[in-house]
């Protein structure tokens, strides 16, 4: 069987304009791919042919009338199942929301819709986006299309796998502590976490509100830039969304990188980093240097404290956000004799074990007598970690690190030890806490053929710098470094 043709935002546009294919035919092609591959990968929880064909027909009608095409006309896109879609089941990979149908679209979804995208369906993830392997889904794990016995990463594992397997041109994921970047790295695609406040969270089911971000997955940087340009920007419905102008990321990403200063923090290359990953990321950095970037060694002294601070803050916020699942207004209800019994039965039956663990931890660190020792201390450490980034960006334009300490691991390899799983977020949570943007770019493969990701961080609202570096790296053959 020959590999299915790979489509990009640009090639979809060209094919539509020259009438080589209609938007409906293209939607049918992708829905067919999903039908064939999804039983094996489990990347999609819900497929949405009705909405996809309605959107495609709208584009075909515009073409027939000779109207100008919107920026993502006909582009088949998958959406992580923690992002609300009007009339389309949104489960958060939880039994709690098995039959939940949102009455509205998230702002990011609405903007994609307005830009002419075609929604193929909702992708599997760790329950309520809590996890790094996609094994915490109530609907079964996703398999990594590169190596089926391995995890795709998490929590946005379904979105990463869908793009890597050619089941969608691009996908939306969400990133709280690494949930876009780490699965991008494991599946060999590009994944971008925007600055906190860059993309509206309206309609994103909340996990940790001071850390959650929506961002794109794509096979290439031009596509990631095109999707980000559409979803970024201020939204009156999200009070944490920033009124900072959105540049044309596609144009910005084509600017030269010569003379850019790239910081390499030695703290990110120490014990625990897989030697194959280290070798590839070092080679990636050398390639950036050969393109005229200046490598500058950095110290980021609080890196080692990021996991501890992150898991206190993220679980505290989660315990508060997930209090809303009480069986009253939507989602699952398990009956009980009293209101309190009904709450308890509903939450016992609706949440999986990782979600319960995080609610327990978060409730504990916020509880009377422990608040100062845990939560408040973690908030202070968060300031120190943010300061590390502020100091670094006085000296450099971007910071380059590995995305994850290992390539994709085997299913069930780590799932019995939650602390070990948390520790694997070591390189991603730092930027999450600081609120800066980060991208994971494919950076070669290990000897066993597993993808490696190189992570780049930039100052707040400097996504353009990330995309510039990533695009130059891609053009210079960095994906196969």
């Amino acid at each position: 069987m020959s590999a299915p043709a790979s489509w990009t935002v640009a090639s979809v546009r060209a094919a539509l304009q020259t009438k080589k294919i209609s938007a409906r035919e293209l939607a049918a092609e992708f829905l067919g791919r999903i039908e064939r591959r999804n039983p094996e990968l489990n990347a999609f929880l819900t497929v949405s042919p009705e909405r996809a064909y309605a959107q495609a027909d709208r584009i075909d009608a515009a073409i027939a009338k000779g109207e100008p095409l919107p920026p993502l006309a006909g582009v088949p896109i998958a959406i992580k199942d923690v992002i609300s879609t009007r009339g389309l089941r949104t489960t958060c990979s939880s039994k709690m929301l098995e039959n939940y149908v949102p009455p509205y679209d998230a702002t990011a979804v609405e903007r994609l819709d307005d830009a002419g995208a075609v929604f193929l369906g909702k992708t599997n993830c760790d329950e309520f986006a809590m996890g790094g392997s996609n094994e915490n889904s109530a609907y079964g794990p996703v398999r990594n299309p590169v190596a089926l016995d391995r995890v795709p990463g998490g929590s946005s594992g379904g979105s990463a796998a869908a793009v890597a397997a050619g089941l969608a041109v691009a996908a939306l994921g969400t990133d709280t502590g690494g949930s876009i970047r780490q699965p991008a790295s494991f599946c060999g695609v590009a994944g971008l976490m925007p600055t906190y406040g860059r993309v509206s969270r309206y309609g994103l089911v909340a996990f940790a509100s001071s850390l959650d971000k929506i961002g794109p997955f794509a096979t290439n940087i031009a596509d990631a830039s095109a999707v980000l340009s559409v979803i970024a920007g201020h939204d009156a419905n999200d009070s944490t969304s920033a009124a900072v102008p959105v540049p044309d990321y596609s144009a910005e990403s084509q600017k030269p990188v010569q003379g850019l200063r790239i910081g390499v923090p030695e703290d990110y290359f120490g014990a625990g980093l897989d030697s194959g990953v280290k070798e590839k990321v070092r080679a990636g950095i050398a390639l950036l240097e050969s393109l005229g970037c200046r490598r500058i060694p950095l110290q980021m002294p609080h890196t080692d404290y990021a996991i501890a601070a992150y898991y206190i803050l993220a679980t505290a916020e989660a315990s508060s956000n997930l209090a809303r699942y009480d069986g009253v207004r939507y989602g699952l209800r398990v009956p009980g004799g009293t209101l309190t019994e009904m709450y308890r039965n509903t939450r016992e039956g609706g949440f999986g074990s990782e979600v319960k663990r995080r609610i327990m931890l978060g409730t504990y660190v916020l509880s009377s007598g422990y608040y100062d020792a845990y939560y408040l201390r973690a908030q202070r450490v968060r300031s120190l970690i943010a300061q590390d980034f502020t100091d670094a960006f006085q000296k450099v334009d971007a910071i380059v690190t590995p995305t994850a300490p290992t390539p994709a691991f085997r299913l069930a390899e780590k799932s019995s030890d939650p602390l070990q799983m948390y520790l694997a977020d070591v390189y991603t949570v730092t930027g999450s806490l600081a609120g800066v943007p980060g991208i994971s770019v494919p950076c070669g493969k290990t000897k066993a053929g597993l993808p490696v990701g190189m992570q780049v961080f930039a100052p707040h609202f400097s996504e353009a710098s990330l995309l510039r570096l990533a695009r130059a790296f891609e053009s210079a053959g960095g994906y196969a470094v």
Binding site: Y100, S210, Y305, R329, T338, S367, L384, G435
Partner: protein
Amino acid sequence: MKISREDVVRVAELAHLGLSPAEVELYRGQLDAILTYVDKLKELDTASVEPMAQVLHIATSESGAQQHPELRDDVSQPCNVAGPVLAGAPEAQAPFFRVPKVIDR
């Protein structure tokens, strides 16, 4: 030991989580390991460090953008979603959600 069985039961009660005895034991061990690990934050002297309560505040002041642009005018908007919202409720009797009896007489 950072956390006892009794602590786990108390926290589960606060969080309205029903837990089986086996889950209580499992979570006690796992939470203990995690709480022991996060104690490493005590290595840092944070007494004079401001807690980071706002992400965007720092971000926008760095980029030179206007302070608090996020505050919009407080104007009421039509919001005709009561129908679909109640349709998604486990038990509804418009315009109310139904729950088990709260007040005993």
